[in-house]
C-alpha cells in the first residue's frame, strides 16, 4: 500500500456529523445526508421525468419507464403475479441500492451501502417482510418452507436443519455481498489512485511509473460502475425470490 500518511483508503468510510440537533438526537451525518440525497434523487427524477405523462415519452420518461418495466418483469418473473403486491417494495430497494451505489462512484461522495449496518438493515427488512407475510398468508403452514415435499421421513432430520440454516444465512449473505462489494471496490480504487499520487510525487520516473496504476484506476472505475448496477440487481432479484418463498412456501 502507498504511504498511509498520504493516502488512507479507509478514511472515505468514516462517518461524521454535519449538523447536530441537540444532545442524543440523530445528528445529520454524511451518511444520512447521502441517504436523503439518494431518496431525493430517485423521487425527484421519477416524478420530474413522468410529470408530462406523455403517451410518446421523451428520453427522461423512457428511462423511468424502463426502470419500472425492468423491476416489474423481474418481480413477475421470480415471484409471479401475486408477487406484484411487493413491487413497490422491491422497486424501492432496487432504486435505493442502485442510486446509493452509483452515488458512491462520484468523488467525495459517501457510499451509504459500504456500511454493513445499512445493507444488513435492508436485508433484515426483506427477511422481516418474507417472514411476516409468510405467516400472515399461510399461518403455520409457512413452516413447510423448511420441509421439502416428497422427502422420506428419516432424511427430514438432516434436511430440515439445513433448510433452516440456509434460510437464516440469507440475510447475512444478502447484506455481506453488497457491503463487501462496495467496500472492496472503493478501497481498491482508492489504493490505486493513491499509487498514482505517491508515484507522481517521486519525479520523472515516478510519473512514468504512475501511468500503470492510473490506467488501473480508470479500469476499476468502469468495473465498479458495473458492480454497482449488478449488485443492485442481485439484491433486488434475491429479495424477490425470497418473497416468492413467502408466497409459495411449499417448493
Amino acid at each position: 500500500m502507498a504511504d498511509p500518511n498520504v493516502v488512507d483508503p479507509i478514511h472515505q468510510f468514516a462517518i461524521y456529523d454535519l449538523v447536530s440537533f441537540g444532545e442524543g438526537g440523530p445528528a445529520l451525518t454524511n451518511s444520512a445526508l447521502f441517504m436523503a440525497l439518494t431518496v431525493a434523487a430517485i423521487g425527484g427524477y421519477l416524478l420530474w421525468s413522468t410529470a408530462p405523462r406523455s403517451i410518446v415519452p421523451g428520453r427522461a420518461q423512457v428511462l423511468s419507464e424502463m426502470l419500472y418495466e425492468f423491476v416489474a418483469n423481474m418481480v413477475r418473473g421470480s415471484a409471479g403475479k401475486e408477487g406484484m403486491k411487493f413491487f413497490p417494495f422491491i422497486f424501492s430497494l432496487f432504486m435505493f441500492v442502485l442510486v446509493a451505489n452509483l452515488f458512491g462512484m462520484v468523488p467525495y461522495f459517501f457510499t451509504v451501502t459500504s456500511h454493513i449496518i445499512v445493507t444488513f438493515a435492508l436485508a433484515a427488512l426483506v427477511m422481516a417482510v418474507v417472514i411476516g407475510y409468510g405467516f400472515f398468508r399461510h399461518g403455520p403452514k409457512f413452516l413447510k418452507l423448511f420441509v421439502p415435499a416428497g422427502v422420506p421421513f428419516p432424511i427430514l432430520f438432516i434436511v430440515v436443519p439445513i433448510e433452516v440454516i440456509s434460510f437464516l444465512s440469507r440475510p447475512v449473505s444478502l447484506s455481506v455481498r453488497l457491503f463487501g462489494n462496495m467496500l472492496a471496490g472503493h478501497i481498491t480504487l482508492k489504493v490505486f489512485a493513491g499509487f498514482v499520487v505517491t508515484l507522481g510525487s517521486l519525479g520523472f520516473f515516478g510519473v512514468l511509473g504512475a501511468i500503470l496504476p492510473l490506467l488501473m484506476a480508470v479500469a476499476i472505475t468502469v468495473l465498479e460502475l458495473m458492480v454497482s448496477v449488478v449488485q443492485a440487481y442481485v439484491f433486488a432479484v434475491l429479495a424477490s425470490m425470497y418473497i416468492n418463498d413467502a408466497i409459495h412456501p411449499s417448493h
Binding site: I42, H115, A121
Partner: protein, 212 residues
C-alpha cells in the same frame, strides 16, 4: 469497556493521544457536546490505525438505522403512492391506446378487404356478362352468314340447273338439224357428181349411213 471509555472522555482528549478517536466514535451523541472534537477528528483519524474500522464502528449504527428508516420509508411511500402508480398509469394508457389503434387498423383492414372482394366480384360479373354478349353476337352473325350463304348457294344451284337444261335443249336441237344439213350436203354432192337426186332419197341415204 464503556466505563473505561467514559473515564477517558472525562480525562479529556489530550490524556491519551492515541485513543480519543475511539472514545469519540464509541460514545454516540457526544458530538453535540464537544463540537471542538470534530476539528481534531480528521487529523487523529489520518494518523491512527488503532481506531475502529468505520463500517464496524457500532456507535454509528443507531444513527444510520434511524436515518435509513426515515429515508427508506419516505422512498417507499413516494414510490408506492405517487411515482409507480403514475408510471404504471402512463404505460397502461399507452397500451390501451396502442390496442385501440391496432383494433381500428384491423377494422379498417377488414373493410378494405371487403371492398376489394366486392370489387372483384363486380369485375368478374361484368366480365362474364361481356363474354356472354360477345358470344351471343358472334352466334348471331354466324347464323346470319350461314343463312345468306345457303340462300346464295340455292340461287346458284337453280341457275346452274337452268343453264344445264338450256344447254341440253340446244344440243338436242342442234343434233336434230345435223341430219337435215347432212341430207342437203349429200343432195348437193350427188347432184354435182351424178345428176339430181330427190330430197327424199338423200334423206334415206343419210339415215342409212348414220345407222351403219
Amino acid at each position: 469497556m464503556a466505563g473505561q471509555l467514559v473515564a477517558q472522555a472525562q480525562g479529556g482528549p489530550t490524556a491519551q493521544p492515541e485513543t480519543p478517536t475511539v472514545e469519540f466514535e464509541e460514545v454516540g451523541g457526544d458530538h453535540a457536546l464537544s463540537p471542538d472534537l470534530a476539528g481534531t477528528h480528521g487529523e487523529v483519524h489520518d494518523s491512527g490505525h488503532s481506531e475502529v474500522f468505520p463500517p464496524f464502528d457500532s456507535s454509528t449504527f443507531a444513527g444510520q438505522l434511524i436515518w435509513l428508516a426515515i429515508t427508506f420509508a419516505l422512498l417507499y411511500v413516494l414510490m408506492s403512492r405517487v411515482a409507480l402508480p403514475r408510471i404504471g398509469n402512463i404505460i397502461d394508457q399507452r397500451q390501451a391506446r396502442i390496442d385501440g389503434d391496432l383494433a381500428a387498423a384491423e377494422h379498417s383492414r377488414k373493410k378494405t378487404d371487403e371492398a376489394i372482394a366486392s370489387y372483384e366480384a363486380a369485375l368478374a360479373a361484368a366480365r362474364a356478362k361481356a363474354h356472354a354478349m360477345a358470344e351471343e353476337t358472334r352466334a348471331g352473325i354466324k347464323s346470319d352468314i350461314d343463312n345468306k350463304r345457303a340462300r346464295v348457294e340455292q340461287d346458284l344451284a337453280a341457275k346452274i340447273a337452268g343453264a344445264e337444261a338450256s344447254i341440253a335443249a340446244t344440243k338436242v336441237e342442234a343434233m336434230g338439224k345435223v341430219d337435215e344439213i347432212a341430207a342437203e350436203t349429200v343432195q348437193a354432192l350427188v347432184a354435182q357428181i351424178s345428176g339430181p337426186v330427190s330430197e327424199a332419197e338423200a334423206h334415206a341415204a343419210v339415215a342409212k349411213a348414220s345407222k351403219e
